[in-house]
Assembly symmetry: C2
Homo-oligomer: 187 residues x 2
């Protein structure tokens, strides 16, 4: 039995061993190397990913070739192009590894099968979706109304472990500032 | 029996008349006048709202007193400070009416009671939460990577009916541009 997956889900819902066996059978474990893509842009998005090890980012390349970071994700976080996954549309963001990573993947079909077979997993995914919404709302308010210094301070307070794993260039992109501005904030 | 509420929920899940009676009993209808607040900042957020009539916005006042619009909402949309509601925390955004509005309100306790009593409503709220996430992701990508002109064009394409209901000053705030810039985009 997989302890990581069981502990992660048991934080929100209680599972019998039989239910967990069903859940486990619907996930696939995958390993990715640093810089490898889980999702490339303009592709069908078939899976969402729960991270067991590593660091992963989702990002968007604009028409001038500049990368904008949507989200960083650490162990116990979920990542994908959720918008494309939920709409079963082509991806508008890419998802790739900042470090070698190990994830549990579940497909759209298996997610819907799971939610209808074990209704309390629907509760788990509703709560997870709500938390994802909360994180994005905070990000929008921060982007719209805060200075670069405030955004940087929020980032290190909200995600204290991230700063050691993520190259400064990527943190600058996440915060929407230049690398030079970020260096001034560090000092 | 309330047709608006039933039709709205039946777009995603099938309900028996008995189930719908239960659902209806957990909602309260409320009427608000233009400029009246459903939620003020720094208050407990006890309810989420489904709009039957009117136009409502959620917004954030920064430390300089400037208003930033998080979301506009039209009939058949849900609005609240979802982040504060899900976390049962104090509000960081305010929600108030652009026009006289009528809404169906459901409390945190009633929402959880409903989801445990009629599990398929959990599916309804998971799907709604996913769509809310999708809208916020699009908004972040737009804020980070698009020009004012592109954001304006996306807005009128995505929400064609909104432009006639919402004062230009508020649309400018939503797009993150000055009123003068918006006027140039109109022409």
């Amino acid at each position: 039995m997989n302890h990581f997956l069981k502990e992660h889900i048991s934080e929100i819902i209680h599972l019998t061993d039989d239910e967990f066996e069903t859940i486990q059978s619907l996930f696939v474990k995958r390993k990715f190397r640093k810089r490898q893509f889980l999702i490339q842009e303009n592709q069908p998005v078939k899976e969402i990913y729960l991270i067991e090890k590593g660091f992963i980012k989702s990002s968007f390349i604009d028409s001038t070739g500049k990368e904008h970071i949507l989200q960083f994700a650490a162990p116990n976080w979920w990542i994908s192009d959720f918008a494309a996954f939920f709409k079963q549309d082509l991806s508008s963001v890419a998802v790739d590894c900042i470090e070698d990573s190990e994830v549990y993947a579940i497909s759209y079909e298996n997610l819907n099968h799971l939610c209808s077979k074990i209704p309390k997993t629907e509760h788990f995914f509703r709560i997870k979706s709500n938390f994802g919404y909360v994180a994005l709302q905070q990000r929008i308010l921060s982007l719209m109304s805060k200075t670069a210094k405030e955004r940087y301070e929020d980032f290190i307070k909200q995600y204290p472990g991230f700063i050691d794993h993520i190259p400064k260039q990527l943190i600058a992109s996440y915060l929407g500032v230049s690398r030079e501005t970020l260096s001034r904030l560090y000092s």
